[in-house]
Amino acid sequence: MQYQFQFNSVLAESGFIMQGILLTIYLSVGAIVLGSILAILFSALRANGPRWVGTLVDIYVELLRNTPFLVQLFIIFFGLPSIGLRLTADQAALLAMTLNLAAYSTEIIRAGVDSIHRSQIEAGLSLAMTKRQIFQHVIIVPAIAKVWPALSSQFVLMLLASSICSFISVQELSGVTAIIEQRTFRSFESYIVATLLYLVLALTLKVGLLGLGRLIFPRVSGLSRVQVKGEAA
């Protein structure tokens, strides 16, 4: 192969690449925070709400887990304006990522909730805890602690899936890469640089979440983990 690699013209765009990285981080962190809040809310509704609310949550989870993220993104970005809800590409991306992540996280947390033994809840009842206190102290926190590794890999997968937002011309890392590729005509080099940056981002997030888990749940490090795998969006 007589190909001469030329990274100079790609690296000259480092400021622009940095903007893309920042947007990727913003979207991912935003989706992780909002998606987790939603997932905990959904789990609480499934556990304490009326039966039909639980069924609605289950339907939501199944619908989002069995359709591609790309199609969800298209429905939100192209569909919502036709009912009068106009979102920018960035907002649509954040919304789609949040809803997608919430569905997967709800399913993962469910495994943790299922693993809490009945006797724990009975113990809470015998201490005259309210339903809400039991959910908060006896169920949800230990449940999340147990499934933290699976949740972490799901968060990393969401970071990787954020690259798909470039399909609706969001200028996150893969979006700016596509633009740089058109400007410089160095396709292969552009995507090598972007791939390496994703690798660094994903590994940093992975290590960060591991540390965060140790920090938030120090007491449960000896607890048996529930085996759940994260699933690629």
């Binding site: 887990r65 993220f69 429905i75 569909g79 990787l160 690259s163 994703y198």
Partner: protein, 218 residues
């Protein structure tokens, strides 16, 4: 010309679904061969082989499939191949599948109790014989539910290949939407078709977990 989303458009989606399934089968076929090799490498006695496999899996799992797709697409064309999108799509999805199946299958092999290794080695079996007659038959049973579950992820992830000009289900939806401007009907139908493929697979995976008694015990 602005048309509306009707029967012919819907049939176009159904035909494109065929391509989505073709791609899924090809990627799964190649991915399982490479993935199986990496799963065995990951458990090899030679530490160099173990490390190579571990790095491969870590890197591919930490990089978006979209980047793998672009790298195969542009990389192959730089190498002088004039490549149809199907080849680039199969290659990149195959690489993606191999990394995930390698991890799933490594887990399945490790889930076979280690006494089985000891028992078979005390029968003077070689490592190849141990795998063939003792370990893999048991690991296979454990691996079926998560492998079927992963198929769901693969079907959904084929949707991104539209970016290199491959007309799969998602791309067909985009084309029709550009002509009709009826995003809810078009992408709603696309979502329903994906759901009709993926949901039965998800259920099957859960069902197999129960039937094969490999679910968690609690």
């Amino acid at each position: 010309m602005i048309e509306s989303f009707g029967w012919p458009e819907f049939m176009f989606l159904v035909r494109a679904t065929g391509w989505t399934l073709v791609l899924t089968v090809i990627a799964f076929f190649f991915g399982s061969i490479v993935g199986g090799a990496f799963a065995i490498m990951r458990l090899a006695q030679n530490s160099l082989l173990r490390r190579i496999a571990a790095v491969y899996i870590l890197v591919i799992q930490s990089v978006p499939v979209l980047m793998v797709l672009f790298l195969s697409y542009y990389g192959l064309s730089l190498a002088g191949f004039d490549i149809p999108p199907l080849i680039a799509a199969s290659l990149s999805l195959g690489i993606y599948v191999s990394a995930y199946l390698a991890e799933i299958w490594r887990g399945s092999i490790e889930a076979v109790p280690f006494q089985q290794w000891e028992a078979s080695s005390s029968l003077a079996m070689t490592r190849g014989q141990q795998y063939r007659y003792v370990i893999l038959p048991q690991a296979l049973r454990i691996s079926v539910p998560p492998t079927v579950g992963f198929l769901v992820q693969l079907v959904k992830n084929t949707s991104i290949v539209s970016v290199v000009g491959f007309v799969d289900l998602a791309r067909a939806g985009q084309l029709i939407n550009n002509a009709t401007f009826q995003p809810f009907q078009v992408f709603g139908s696309v979502a329903v078709i994906y759901f009709l493929i993926c949901f039965p697979l998800s259920r099957l995976s859960k069902h197999l977990e129960k039937v094969l008694h490999v679910g968690r015990t609690n």
